[in-house]
């Protein structure tokens, strides 16, 4: 991991080249995170790729409900020769959930970004094949959002078996 000072140096370089890109940096439990504005994600990713973080380990999303902006997307980057990890984070709201896709830099972001779209509804601009990957194609709703119900079948006990439909017919 880059230590805290290394992270600040990286953030400084990014700020120098793209003034409004870096929103904040976080160094927590020996892990470095840079929070970026969504529009600057592509440029920052290219800059870090040139700096040596050339392997994309993971792309995942999460829902910060009820904090706004709600939907977060994280890209875990890895510098293999130096064994360094860094996380690029960005947050968008549900009204305008657009994030530039990093498929151009890392073709391996294809499936993970589709999964973030499927589960959370974040649309990746520039993705070659933006459709659902895990749920059926005509499914409505984004399951991993925190206000999406977990669903499931009610568990039938003797106290509720009369009220559940279709059980005692």
């Amino acid at each position: 991991m880059p230590d805290a000072t290394g992270l600040e140096l990286i953030a400084q370089d990014l700020r120098a080249s793209h003034p409004d890109a870096v929103l904040s940096t976080k160094y927590f439990r020996d892990e470095a995170t840079i929070e970026l504005a969504p529009a600057a994600l592509l440029a920052a990713a290219e800059a870090l790729h040139a700096r040596g973080y050339s392997f994309m380990a993971s792309c995942h999303g999460l829902d910060y409900y009820p904090d706004e902006p709600r939907l977060g997307v994280h890209y875990q980057l890895l510098d293999m020769p130096n064994v360094d990890r860094i996380c690029l984070a960005t947050r968008v709201s549900t009204e305008d959930p657009h994030v530039p896709s990093l498929c151009g830099i890392w073709p391996g972001a294809n499936h993970p970004e589709r999964e973030v779209f499927d589960m959370l509804g974040v649309v990746f601009d520039g993705h070659p094949d933006m459709r659902r990957i895990l749920m059926p194609e005509d499914y409505e709703g984004h399951p991993q959002r925190r206000d999406f119900p977990t669903g499931g079948e009610p568990i039938i006990f003797t106290y509720n078996e009369d009220k559940l439909p279709g059980w005692t017919q």
Binding site: L134, M135, P136, D138, Y139, E140, P143, F148, P149, T150, G151, G152, E153, I155, G166
Partner: protein, 226 residues
């Protein structure tokens, strides 16, 4: 896609095989108009012995379909393995094509994307066919009680449920042997007669109907009679 079933023959009450045997024997002793008795006895005597023999043969030569979905599939794969040899019962011929199989061992969790596929494969199997729901996930919702899983009872008839997560191969073996004794004791092979389920056919929800709920696989609609 509408699916409707209709009975071809005269409706008969589905009864336990043993009860029908006893009733035939009682009728032989009692007073019944000739033709009806004749027909009744002919049917009963012939079907009784022949059915029993056929059922014995069917039970001893089940061809399971290779249908591994998730973790239970790995335990199902241990069945033909060397330790718990399923070949000593004659069930080692796992057929890849559902047309050639008569036992569908649903091993693993059935997601909503997979449920129509499972149903289609079950439909492609030829009667007589049986289904075992192996594991907790397809019998009930199992460990995962959420939006993505469908219990198998919702869209296909299951004969034996084997609980466990995953069930030990011995447990699955026990389930298959229970199914075998069920097959051998009960000749009516069509499952609707077996369970007295005439008139319970469901109409599948079509994608071109407005308001189709994408979360449920099927819309419960009117049942259709022949």
């Amino acid at each position: 896609m509408e699916v409707t079933r209709s009975r071809l023959g005269p409706a008969r009450p589905a009864e336990d095989f043993r009860i029908r045997q006893l009733r035939a024997r009682d009728m032989l002793r009692g007073d019944i108009p000739d033709e009806e008795l004749q027909q009744y006895v002919e049917e009963r005597v012939l079907t009784t012995t022949l059915d029993k023999a056929v059922a014995w043969a069917r039970g001893n030569s089940l061809f399971p379909a290779t249908f591994g979905l998730a973790c239970c599939a790995i335990e199902m794969m241990s069945l033909p393995g060397a330790r718990l040899d399923i070949a000593r019962f004659g069930f080692e011929a796992f057929r890849a094509s559902p047309r050639q199989a008569d036992l569908l061992i649903l091993s693993g969790r059935v997601s909503i994307k997979m449920a129509p596929v499972v149903r289609r494969i079950y439909d492609q199997m030829l009667e007589p066919r049986w289904a075992i729901a192996m594991g907790a996930c397809c019998s009930s919702m199992g460990v995962f009680n959420n939006y993505a899983i469908v219990p198998a009872d919702k869209f296909m008839p299951i004969d034996v449920h084997v609980p466990g997560c995953p069930p030990r191969p011995e447990a699955l073996m026990h389930g298959i042997l229970r199914l075998r004794s069920k097959i051998q004791g009960d000749p009516p092979a069509g499952w609707r007669e077996r369970y007295g389920a005439e008139g319970t056919e469901e109409v599948l929800g079509a994608a071109d109907l407005p308001g189709t709920n994408a979360i449920n696989v099927f819309q419960s609609g009117e049942t259709q009679r022949a």
